[in-house]
């Protein structure tokens, strides 16, 4: 008789995909936009990205040690958070503020709530909200691209320009698509963001439900408010938010139906803030608000389980 080691429960086969792979694929998908950001805003952008990513990694490792959780920095989720956070910061934010953001994202928003999988809010967006409340001036000072040096002149983002009826020409739609406009680090180039999004969709890391519902809702409502629909879709952080923020697994609904509801909700709130709110942009708060509703959306959209339908009813339906 031979003793066999390695008892393990069924199933004994496993799809090859791991959480680490998922996260690193998201990182990969963010790289084109990251490169674009360095192109548009110079080395300064690289510095901010480096600072947020490193603070996120360090904070994660430290808090996992403090909370006696297994240290799983390698799974890449902190890198995703760090990159996403840098993408929603203005290009000339003092570096220590960026670091504070990274710390808030990981420690306050994620680890305090129980770590990966238990946080309610999207860490990058919640950290941005914290920074915006703490440093309203620095967080809203934007610069047009290709300005290096200390004498750079700040310039409004297109959405601010529209909201506050500022004089001066708006960037053309083509410029906005390519990313030649003022804005946060990673939000400006729609083209490069879509490149990454295509990768996520193709690899089935995300599904189309949230982005499509989100963008379609914004398009329809913008039309109702008599806005330039294309402009509204390309402006602000909408593309970044719809494909990379709202689709965050942990803070979005589990089911496809839930995802549609979530996307529509994000769209409505975004447009309402843009049109009626005090801020020019509403993507960040819209997603954070919908994050809070996720447990409820989940409960309302669980699939109808097999066998829950009575056979009498069922058979009449399919006869």
């Amino acid at each position: 008789m031979e003793k066999l080691p390695l008892l393990s429960p069924a199933p004994h086969l496993h799809s090859s995909e791991t959480t680490g792979q998922v996260m690193w694929t998201v990182v990969l998908a963010l790289l084109p936009a990251a490169a674009g950001s360095i192109f548009f805003f110079g080395l300064r952008a690289l510095k901010i990205m480096a600072v947020t990513v490193v603070t996120c990694l360090v904070t994660e490792a430290a808090s996992q040690a403090v909370f006696h959780r297994p240290v799983r920095v390698k799974d890449g989720s902190a890198v995703v958070t760090g990159l996403l956070l840098s993408f929603v910061l203005p290009p000339r934010l003092p570096l220590w503020m960026a670091a504070l953001g990274g710390f808030s994202a990981i420690f306050l928003v994620k680890e305090l709530f129980g770590g990966l999988g238990y946080n309610i809010f999207n860490p990058a967006l919640a950290a941005r909200a914290i920074l915006l409340a703490s440093f309203p001036v620095e967080m809203t000072r934007f610069y047009p691209p290709f300005q290096t040096g200390v004498d750079a002149v700040s310039g409004a983002t297109p959405l601010t320009a529209v909201k506050e009826h500022l004089a001066g020409p708006l960037p053309s739609l083509k410029e906005m698509f390519l990313g030649v406009r003022a804005g946060c680090l990673g939000e400006t180039s729609v083209l490069l963001l879509l490149l990454g999004a295509a990768l996520l969709l193709a690899r089935r890391i995300i599904t189309w439900h949230i982005p499509l519902a989100y963008l379609a809702t914004v398009a329809v409502l913008s039309a109702i408010f008599r806005q330039n629909v294309a402009f509204q879709l390309l402006a602000g952080g909408l593309i970044l938010g719809a494909f990379f923020m709202a689709t965050d697994y942990v803070t979005s609904p589990l089911t496809s139906r839930g995802k549609l509801i979530f996307g529509i909700g994000c769209g409505i709130i975004t447009v309402l803030i843009r049109m009626q709110g005090g801020y020019p942009e509403g993507v960040c708060y819209a997603i954070l608000f919908m994050n809070m509703l996720v447990p409820m959306i989940d409960r309302l959209t669980y699939p109808v389980r097999y066998g829950a339908v009575l056979p009498e009813k069922k058979s009449s339906g399919q006869a």
């Binding site: 069924a10 799809s15 791991t18 959480t19 799983r72 056979p311």
Partner: protein, 434 residues
């Protein structure tokens, strides 16, 4: 089409072309008296008794129980407790082979002359249970509850677990016997409608089967359905959904939607029981995985796994896992002395792999919800199970879980979801009886 499910690599071409080989005379067999669903059988032989192949050695204990027969001729060397692959313990009868190959007298009778009750009784006496894995006593299935009518009998040839090809081989090599078994089943439950369900590309198997089915008309209308490959389509509830579009209501039986599902080898065993009086003492299983020569083997029930490994010259190097059943639902064996049971469809040697991770976080990716063929929310049940909140698991319908393993198969965090759900169910059962 079933909802959810997964599509793992099937690996079937490794063994599907190997004709069934026989290994029927092991030195010893170990026959647990509880290898079926229901009450354990009662031993009717004692240590030292001489038995011949096919002789009754365990009497069914009540209605939901099953008879047990000697699978070789020889001397009873012990009646003692042994472990089952599931980890439970059962009384078992061990027989040492005397090499004489004596067997009980078989008979020859025409099932057409028998009434339904006689057919069912023949099945009961032969100790037949579902051979697809569940090992539910077949005579119980054939005895319709009052007020229920069987509309459709489904012959389950899906064999959706990767690696396994034994049912496919049996259907290919013993088509006539299997089809006759199907006829007997239909007669026993009084229906004129049946479906033979195959899955995916079975290398022209449908062309072999079809002429046999044609011959049965008009007495019996049998449809041959080829379903797209999908795991766990061969699971009873999923197969009924795939074939008829009906769903078995939660907590009910297939017969409540007028369906009965039988495995290919069960049908063959029924034919042999009814027409020859031959009990269930052998079965075909697939030996596969990381072995040089995968094969389909006809073995005596009770053959210790190590005897089969020796026969096929399979070496385990201490790191490999040995799995009884399919890779999705089978059990990893703690040792090689365990016997083949009536419900054992495969013996797989699999490589070592990173285990599950109890502590990994659920990243709420939703893949498990997409994959669950019962359309449950495994991520949420798992969250409750982790907290030890069994009642919460029940409210999320953990009792409807068929333990197919699709959720754990797709989970990128490698959470041992199915193991948790089995645990939750056991806790809930205990609470109910307490």
């Amino acid at each position: 089409m079933i909802s959810g499910g997964v599509h793992p690599l099937s690996f079937k071409r490794l063994s599907r072309n190997f004709p069934i080989q026989e290994f029927l005379q092991p030195e010893r067999v170990v026959l647990p008296l509880s290898q079926h669903t229901g009450a354990a059988a009662t031993p009717v032989v004692k240590k030292g008794d001489e038995v011949v192949q096919g002789q009754l050695i365990g009497q069914a204990n009540g209605f939901v129980s099953s008879c047990l027969h000697a699978s070789i001729s020889g001397r009873v060397s012990s009646v003692d407790y042994c472990y089952l692959p599931s980890g439970r313990r059962s009384l078992a009868i061990t027989i040492e082979n005397d090499g004489s190959n004596r067997r009980i007298e078989t008979i020859s009778r025409d099932w057409r002359s028998l009434a339904s009750e006689q057919l069912v009784e023949g099945v009961r006496q032969a100790g037949i249970v579902g051979m697809g894995g569940a090992a539910f006593p077949t005579h119980v299935k054939l005895s319709l509850p009052p007020g229920r009518r069987a509309e459709l009998v489904i012959l389950n040839g899906c064999e959706c677990e990767p690696f396994l090809t034994c049912d496919e081989r049996v259907l290919r090599e013993e088509t006539a016997g299997v089809v006759e078994g199907l006829q007997i089943i239909c007669r026993a439950v009084g229906t004129g409608k049946a479906t033979v369900a195959l899955e995916g590309d079975k290398d022209g198997l449908d062309e072999i089967v079809r002429p046999y089915l044609k011959k049965l008309e008009p007495e019996l209308k049998v449809e041959l359905k080829i379903l797209p490959e999908r795991y766990p389509q061969g699971s009873e509830k999923q197969l009924i959904e795939a074939v008829t579009g009906r769903q078995v209501p939660s907590g009910k039986l297939p017969i409540d939607v007028g369906c009965l599902v039988f495995n290919v080898q069960t049908a063959l065993a029924i034919k042999q029981a009814v027409t020859e009086g031959w009990p269930l003492v052998q079965r075909v299983l697939t030996l596969g995985g990381l072995v040089e020569k995968p094969s389909n083997l006809r073995v005596a029930i009770g053959t210790p796994v190590e005897a089969i490994l020796n026969f096929c010259q399979v070496k385990l190097d201490g790191r490999k896992r040995l799995v009884m059943g399919g890779p999705m639902m089978g059990q990893a064996l703690p040792e090689t002395s365990l016997p083949v049971l009536k419900g054992t469809s495969g013996l797989l040697v699999l490589g070592p792999r990173e285990g599950f991770s109890e502590e990994a976080p659920c990243i709420r990716c939703g893949r498990c919800l997409q994959a669950c063929p019962m359309r449950l929310a495994p991520a949420e049940i798992g969250r409750q199970a982790r907290l030890g909140n069994w009642e919460g698991c029940r409210q999320l319908y953990v009792n409807d879980c068929i333990e197919c393993g699709c959720c754990a198969y797709v989970c990128p965090s490698r959470l041992p979801l199915v193991a948790w759900f089995k645990w939750a169910k056991a806790e809930l059962r205990e609470k109910k009886t307490a």
